[in-house]
């Protein structure tokens, strides 16, 4: 089920998690769920960080299913494969909640 999954939005910024970690958001192992903030307006990708930290500091809104596809399309338009792979997909895969169990 590994997929990049925009989970929250704030203006032109989105928080992306690996869909495999969705089941852990807000629950017992919530603090292990990592995310990457992407600024779609300025084309910036932040380093990976705990999702709960972002949710604690700001009024993020949940992304609906139709919005999710729009954001993914914008992500694909704005960033190169290299950026998506190395700055988003790989860090999220390396920090999966499940991965930390093994």
């Amino acid at each position: 089920m590994n997929e990049i999954y925009p989970v929250a939005k704030l203006g032109d910024q989105i928080l992306i998690i690996n869909k495999d970690d969705l089941a852990y958001v807000g629950k017992e192992r919530a603090f292990e769920v990592k995310c990457i903030k992407v600024d779609l307006k300025h084309g910036e990708i932040d380093p990976i960080i705990e999702l709960e930290k972002h949710l604690k500091f700001n009024p993020w809104e949940e992304v609906s299913n139709s919005e999710r596809d729009v954001f993914l399309q914008k992500l694909g338009d704005k960033f190169s494969d290299q950026d998506i792979l190395e700055k988003i997909i790989e860090p999220l895969l390396n920090n999966l909640v499940k991965a930390q169990v093994n």
């Binding site: 203006g11 629950k27 609906s64």
Partner: protein, 415 residues
């Protein structure tokens, strides 16, 4: 060598399993979302066009905070740890052991803490009615839980534990006394904060019905730290994360996340840099360690902050966090998380703008709402990662605010 991408860098095909999986994720992503030549060149445009915005109206946003009812449970006392000993331990007292009403009945682990609590009852702190009792219980609990860390640090320095605690308390007092209090804010929400809402909102107010952004973890932490909406919650013990889960009968009742949403703590930080710098240098540039949470720094009027803020010298939400928030006007040494070389903090730089004790930032929790009226000045700079266009947006929002509030003394400081 085969070329996998038409991008600027060729990827070596001999890769680890993670890299293989990452590539397959990218391929799957690209199969659905191909890169558009037209949009590739669009530089600073908004990611969502007006036509697309129309498509996004199915967002399931709920009405924020209309169900607020003032908490009438002011008489409820915070849960006290079992280790706390109450003097005059009669049978009746034993029954009420977890709900002591007065500070002086508790036996403390150190003279420092006993002195600290001498004038506790006079302390004024905004927030939910349970906040002071919760903080007091947490301090007592944390000092006991972390006794070994204090012993180790004292042994490193060749001093008694009591002496170490006294010195740490003095250090903490000094660091907070010289600090200002800030809130890092994203440009995207500045206009609504300044010109519509007049206050900061938390994610509890913007959650939607899908429930993907489950707030149970934060709600459980805020019960534990402040007793916020604690009525009806399971007792929060050492492992707060258990109570955030969907497991067994420990699930938090829905009303705990639904009620008083607009009164939830708002999070910020403290620093002794005039513009809110907080990093390895204590200045801007380089950008602060909190730019992920916002690049514009709002400085809170100090007298307001001292009344409505609690703080820690680290991120407060980590699991198993036994170093609790304490009032900004009366910080306690247990708010300082000691790492393996914790004793060194006594000999290092004093200012909270340089977080050189193993943390990336200090943290402030503002209670009883953080409003524009609490703000002294707004600090922004391109050297803190802000783009020119964003700086202009803040200027416009500020101008509109001053037009609405000509009496306001808030300053916009560009540096």
């Amino acid at each position: 060598m085969s070329e996998r991408f038409i991008e600027d860098k060729i990827i070596d095909p001999e890769v680890s399993p993670i890299k293989k999986l990452a590539r397959s994720m990218l391929d799957k992503f690209r199969a659905r979302f191909r890169r558009s030549e037209k949009l590739e060149s669009s530089d600073d445009s908004s990611p969502i066009s007006s036509t697309e915005e129309a498509d996004l109206t199915d967002s399931e946003t709920t009405d924020p905070g209309t169900d607020f009812a003032p908490d009438s449970s002011g008489e409820r006392a915070a849960t006290m740890p079992d280790e706390v000993k109450i003097k005059d331990d009669t049978d009746d007292d034993k029954k009420n052991k977890k709900r002591p009403e007065r500070t002086e009945k508790v036996e403390y682990d150190s003279v420092v803490t006993a002195n600290y609590f001498e004038d506790w009852d006079e302390l004024e702190l905004d927030g939910n009615p349970e906040i002071k009792d919760s903080i007091r219980a947490n301090i007592i609990r944390a000092e006991k839980l972390n006794e070994q860390a204090y012993r180790n640090a004292a042994a490193d320095l060749g001093i008694t534990v009591e002496e170490f605690k006294a010195r740490l308390q003095a250090k903490v007092d000094t660091m907070v006394r010289q600090a200002d209090f800030f809130r890092a804010t994203h440009v995207d929400v500045i206009d609504s904060i300044m010109n519509t809402d007049g206050r900061w909102k938390s994610q509890f107010e913007t959650s939607t019905s899908n429930g993907n952004l489950n707030p149970n973890y934060r709600a459980a932490q805020e019960i534990r730290m402040f007793g916020f909406n604690q009525e009806g919650a399971p007792e929060i013990g050492d492992r707060v994360e258990e109570y955030a889960g969907y497991y067994g009968d420990k699930k938090l009742p829905a009303k705990i996340t639904a009620q008083n949403r607009e009164l939830r703590p708002i999070y910020g930080y403290f620093s002794d840099n005039e513009h809110g710098g907080i990093n390895d240098y204590g200045t801007i540039p380089p950008p602060t360690n909190v730019t992920q949470y916002g690049k514009v720094n709002f400085k809170i009027k100090k007298e307001r902050a001292l009344r409505k803020a609690t703080l820690t010298f680290h991120d407060s939400l980590g699991p198993g966090n036994d170093w609790p928030p304490t009032p900004a006007s009366k910080p306690h040494f247990t708010s300082f998380r000691l790492n393996y070389n914790g004793s060194r903090i006594l000999g290092t730089k004093n200012g909270p703008s340089i977080t050189n004790w193993g943390e990336s930032y200090t943290e402030v929790q503002y209670h009883g709402q953080l409003k524009m009226d609490d703000i002294e000045s707004i600090h922004m700079s391109s050297q803190n990662g802000l783009h020119k266009g964003d700086i202009e947006l803040v200027r416009i929002a500020f101008k509109a605010y001053k037009k609405q509030h000509p009496e306001s003394s808030i300053k916009l400081i560009e540096f």
